[in-house]
C-alpha cells in the first residue's frame, strides 16, 4: 500500500474481494451456505482437467469480447456491440464450416476463422465509419446493430441455413475439417484467445499503429497535432474490435458448439465489457479476468448441485465488482485508502456527440 506500484494491483483485487464478501452475505441471507458456494465454485472451475477445460472454454469467448472492447476503449470508443459482432462471426463461420465441407483442414479451418473475423468486422466498420464521417455516436449504432444482428442470425439459423430433416432452429454440424480440438486437455480456442491477447497487447503497446490509436484515444487534439488521422484511427479501431469479436464467435462455433444455434452465445459480448473493465483495459490482464469470470460462469451447475443456490448470484457478484472497479472512490472510502497519484478511473465516454 505504500508504493504506487502496488496500487493498481490492489484496486481490482480489493474490488473482487469486497464483491465476493457482499456476495457471501447475500448467499447467507438467502439461507444458503457461503462455504458450500465457495466449494462449488472451486470444484466446478478448477478441480481436475475437465473442470479446468470447462472454465477455459467459458473464458474463451469472454477473452475475445474483452479484447474487442479494449481495442475500442484505447482509441476512445465504446464498442457495446461486441455481442452482435460475435453472433455474426459465429454464424458465418459455422456456415462456412458445413458448407465448405471437403476442404483439407489446413485450408478449411483458417478459412472459417477468417470468414468469422471479416463478418464480425463488417458491422463494426459501419459503426466506425458513421462515427468518423457523420459523427454518429458508436454506442447508439452498436446497440441498434446488436438487435438487428440477433434477429438476422436467428432468421438465418431458422431459415436459409437451417439444418434440414430436424425441427431445431440451427445450422448443420460443422465438418470435422473445420473443428478445433483440445490439445493436451486445453481447448485450442483458449490457446488462440491467449495468443490473441498477447497479439493485441503487442499491437496496442508496442507498435506504431497502437500508438496512433492510443494517442487518438488519449488526446484527439494532440493526435491532430502529431499528424495522426483521427477518422482513420476511429475506423481502424472499430474494425479491429469487431474482428476480434467475430473471431470470438467463430471460435465458439468451431471449437465449442460445433454449429450455430440461436441462444448459445447469449450475453457473451456484454460480459466482454465487464471483463475489459475488470482488467482495467489492459490486454494481458484480460486473461486472468476472463478466467475468473469463466470460472464463475462454469460453476452454475455446481452452485445448484452443491449449494442449492440460484445461478443468478454470479451476476449479482459481478455487478458489484464492476461497480467497485469503475468507482474506485467507493472502494477507497470502504477501505479507507489514501488517494493515490496514479490514474484509477476508467473512462469510456466523452458524451454522445464529440
Amino acid at each position: 500500500m505504500h508504493t504506487d506500484r502496488l496500487r493498481p494491483v490492489l484496486l481490482p483485487v480489493a474490488a473482487v474481494a469486497v464483491a465476493v464478501a457482499i456476495g457471501a452475505a447475500i448467499v447467507l441471507a438467502a439461507g444458503a451456505s457461503p462455504v458450500a458456494a465457495a466449494t462449488a465454485i472451486w470444484v466446478a472451475a478448477f478441480s481436475g482437467t475437465d473442470a479446468i477445460a470447462a472454465t477455459l472454454e467459458k473464458a474463451t469467448p469472454l477473452l475475445f469480447a474483452g479484447l474487442a472492447v479494449i481495442v475500442g476503449v484505447r482509441a476512445g470508443l465504446f464498442n457495446i456491440g461486441a455481442q452482435g459482432q460475435l453472433l455474426v462471426g459465429a454464424i458465418t463461420s459455422a456456415y462456412a464450416g458445413y458448407r465448405l465441407a471437403g476442404l483439407p483442414p489446413a485450408v478449411h479451418l483458417p478459412l472459417c476463422l477468417a470468414i468469422g473475423i471479416l463478418s464480425g468486422a463488417l458491422p463494426a466498420l459501419l459503426a466506425g465509419v458513421l462515427r468518423a464521417t457523420r459523427g454518429v455516436h458508436e454506442v447508439i449504432v452498436t446497440i441498434m446493430l446488436n438487435t438487428i444482428l440477433v434477429n438476422l442470425t436467428d432468421w438465418l439459423a431458422g431459415g436459409p441455413w437451417m439444418e434440414q430433416g430436424q425441427p431445431v432452429s440451427r445450422t448443420p454440424a460443422i465438418a470435422g475439417s473445420a473443428r478445433m480440438a483440445r490439445v493436451a486437455g486445453l481447448p485450442v480456442g483458449f490457446l488462440l484467445a491467449v495468443a490473441m491477447a498477447f497479439v493485441v497487447w503487442f499491437v496496442l503497446d508496442r507498435t506504431t499503429f497502437g500508438f496512433r490509436l492510443a494517442t487518438v484515444g488519449a488526446n484527439r487534439n494532440a493526435a491532430h497535432y502529431a499528424g495522426i488521422s483521427v477518422a482513420g484511427a476511429t475506423v481502424a479501431a472499430m474494425t479491429l474490435s469487431g474482428a476480434l469479436a467475430g473471431l470470438g464467435g467463430a471460435v465458439e462455433s468451431l471449437g465449442i458448439v460445433g454449429r450455430f444455434e440461436p441462444g448459445f452465445n447469449a450475453g457473451l459480448g456484454f460480459d466482454g465489457i465487464t471483463i475489459a473493465l475488470l482488467a482495467r483495459v489492459s490486454p494481458r490482464a484480460v486473461i486472468p479476468a476472463a478466467v475468473l469470470i469463466g470460472a464463475l460462469r462454469a460453476s452454475s451447475t455446481q452452485l445448484q448441485a452443491r449449494a442449492r443456490l440460484a445461478p443468478e448470484i454470479v451476476d449479482v457478484v459481478l455487478a458489484i465488482a464492476l461497480l467497485l472497479v469503475a468507482a474506485p472512490l467507493i472502494l477507497r472510502w470502504l477501505l479507507r485508502l489514501r488517494p493515490g497519484s496514479c490514474r484509477t478511473e476508467v473512462q469510456l465516454t466523452r458524451g454522445w456527440g464529440a
Binding site: F78, T147, G159, A310, E312, I320, V346, L348, R350
Partner: protein, 327 residues
Amino acid sequence: MKRSWTGRPVPPNGLVAGSLLAAAFVAYGIWGFRATAVLGFAVRSSTPLALAAMCGILCERTGVINIGIEGQMLLGAFAGFFGAAAFGVVAGVAAAVVLGALVGAFLALCAVTWRVDQIIAGAVINIAAAGFTSFLYRPGRVIGSLPTWRIPLLGDLPLLGPVLFRAQPLTYLTFVVVIGLQVALFRTPWGRRTTAVGEHPGAADTVGIDVARYRYGNVVAGGALAGLAGALLSVEITGSFDRGMTAGRGFLALAIVIMGRWRPALAWAAALFFGVLSGLVNQLNFDRVFDVPPQFVAMLPYATTIVVLAIFSTRVRPPAAAGRPYP
C-alpha cells in the same frame, strides 16, 4: 414564418398533427376496425416506451447519459408486481416509482458526485437489475388489475375513443406526463434551467443555478418515470412479472430519445411510429397479406434509427454536456 420558442422556423405543429389525424381517419374509413386495432396497438405499445424515453430525455437534457433505463424498468416492474401482490395495485405502482427513483439517485450519485463514467454506471444498473430480480423472484403471486376507464364522450368517438380514451390509469398518466414534460421543458423556469444545465453547465452555474441539484433532481425524477414504465408493464399491461420481461424496451427507448431529438412529444411520436410498424405487421399476419419473417420486422425500428442518424446526424444534436461531469 412561425417560429418555435427556440426561435427556429418550424412547420406548424398543428398542421402536422392535423394531417396525421386526417390520415388516420382516412385509414379508418377504408379499413374500419383494422385501423382501430393497429392504432390501438401502436398507442398501447408506445406508452412504456414513451415513459422510458421520458426518463432518457430528463437525464440527458440535464447532462447525464442513462443507459440503465432497461434495468430501472425491470426493477420497477419487479417492485410494482410484488408491491401490488402484497399491498394492492396502488401501492405496487408507488413501489415501482420509488424504486426507480432510488436507482436514479444511485445513478446521480455515480455521475455527479463520484464522477464515475456514466456508461459504466448504467451498465452496472442493467447487470445488477437483471441479477437481483431474477435471484429474488418467487412465482405464484397474483395481483388485481387496474381498471379500464372510459372517458365520457371522448370514449365514444369513432377511432379515437377506443384508441385513446378507453385505457387504463397509467396510460392516461403517460399522456399527462408526456404532454406535461413537453410543456414544462419548454415553458417553465425548471425546463429552461434543465436545458441550460445539459447544454452549458458553466452558463447555468454563473447565473446561480445549482447544477448538481438539477442533475440529481432530474435523474431521480427520470428514474421514477422508468420505474413507472416498469409498473406499466407488470401491473397494468400484463398483471404479471417475469424475469427479463422488459425485453429490451429500455434500449429501444434510448433510440427513441434520439429519434425524438430530446423532445417529449417528438419522442412519443417516434414510439408511436415503432408501435404502428409492429401493429401493422401483426395485422398483415392476421389478414394473411404476406409472410414477412418476424425477425425482419423486429429489425425495422433499429435499422430506421441508424439510417435516420446517418442522414440527419448534423441536425440530431444531443445536449452538449451529456455524459460530462461538472465542474
